[in-house]
Amino acid sequence: MTTTTVARSAPRRRSPASGSLSGTTRRVGLGILGAALAIGVWYLVSVSGIVSGRGIPRPDEVVSAGRILFTEQDLLFDVRVSMTRVCIGVTVGSLLALPIGFLLAWYPTLRAMAEPLVNFFRALPPIALVPLAIVYIGIGEDARISILVYASFFAAVIVLFEGISSIDPLLVRAARVLGANRWEVFARTVVPASIPHLFTAVRVALGVSWATVVAAELVAAQRGLGAAVQDAATFYRIPDMFVGIAMIGFAALFMDLVLKLVQSRLTTWQEKTR
């Protein structure tokens, strides 16, 4: 045998930790610089008084307002309430979307029938359903969660079935010629090939749900970040509003980051197109 003619170098694995350390440090550094600049601009704007009326609070005022909110008014509870709502909504919505997504991708007739409907309901802003939910379900937690499940479901199902239908049919053929039966084709080819799409779906659902929960809390809730901001607005506690809004942003960012981390752990095999 002369198989040695074939190149045999070990695969070069680019470890993000070692290979591009300087790149990462640089990126983090630049990110911090950008944030610092923005805070600087904010500070200048707030002290210059060019914003008429009540003006905007200085960064340090917002920070001390935040400290009080967290220590004395339990803002963390509101953060938890909002995040819990989103988590339940996204989990239930995505779990429902999962089988439906597979069904729609698997059966073209079903898909053709359902696609206009799904598109309609996804295009409909979930917040438009809040009054309807209040009429039918009341103003309790059930109503808010139902809206979130709705929002997550339609956001996720579209990403899922488009992703799953884009799976290379050649992979299915390859599995079949190797002897896979229908179940094995599904469980050992279609499902693993769908995992990246599942993550995308959950991330999209998360984004939509987060937007929806805040909007819903602004109009109908006692606790939660949206309610906290609304509460502060009622009493013109402007720094408190800033704190609430900042927390909405941080919480959303945090949840997306966690998901991204899980995703990169579970789909290391995936080819990066970036």
Binding site: T4, V6, A174, R176, L178
Partner: protein, 271 residues
Amino acid sequence: MTLTAEANHATASDRIVFDGIGKHYTRDGDHLQVLDDCSFTVEPGEFVSVIGPSGCGKTTLLNMAAGFTSPDDGSVRVGSAVVDGPHPSRGVVFQQYAIFGWLTVAKNIEYGLTLRANRRPKAERKDVVQRYLDLMGLERFASAYPKELSGGMRQRVAIARAYATDPRVLLMDEPFAALDAQTRERMQELLHETQLSERRTALFITHSVEEAIFLSNRVVVLSARPTDVREVVDVAIPAPRSAETRLSPQFVELRRHLEELLRSESVERVR
């Protein structure tokens, strides 16, 4: 020594027979007769290449043998059974790298052996995987994911995976078409060596006359559409073949002849 002389893997039940194959497609109401009374046979343990003008129906023929498409007229038989669907006894290597991105190289090769249709005990699976990792020069990539591999390596994984389930028949549709010239020649040599040690019945589709001669016992030349068999050429060049074989007078003469045949078919088609 010729390739057919001592077929150790193949038995008479592996003969592939294309018997009077006809196939048409209807496109925008137009009737397109692709294959018309196309017949040839691949003998057990034999390596046969099919060449022909672009679009003449080579992939269609291979898909019939694989069981993805059925003929309108005639039949494809493997052994005595008419092909009526995919089966693990007929391994397929596709033109595009159809390997599973979420599995490592070793797991890709093992995939077929873990399915109900041909499940093997773990120890045996490990041996088979090791054997094909070695044979395809992939030992050091066993735990690598496909994204870390070059095109040539991916195709080697696909070939190893097809061999691993021990198919009686191998069907390959231009497996090296996407590779650069050097990699391609190395892959041909590797496949040739593998064929010498494994001796499976193989149907190989290619656009390259040189590739066809280098690998095959016989080369089937198809005509332009509606396609039938224009000529079947024996390649009486002894094995093992090497890089020098490509320069031998016999090889060059065969090549000239086959290129001539292909050219005349392409010209006919343009007219």
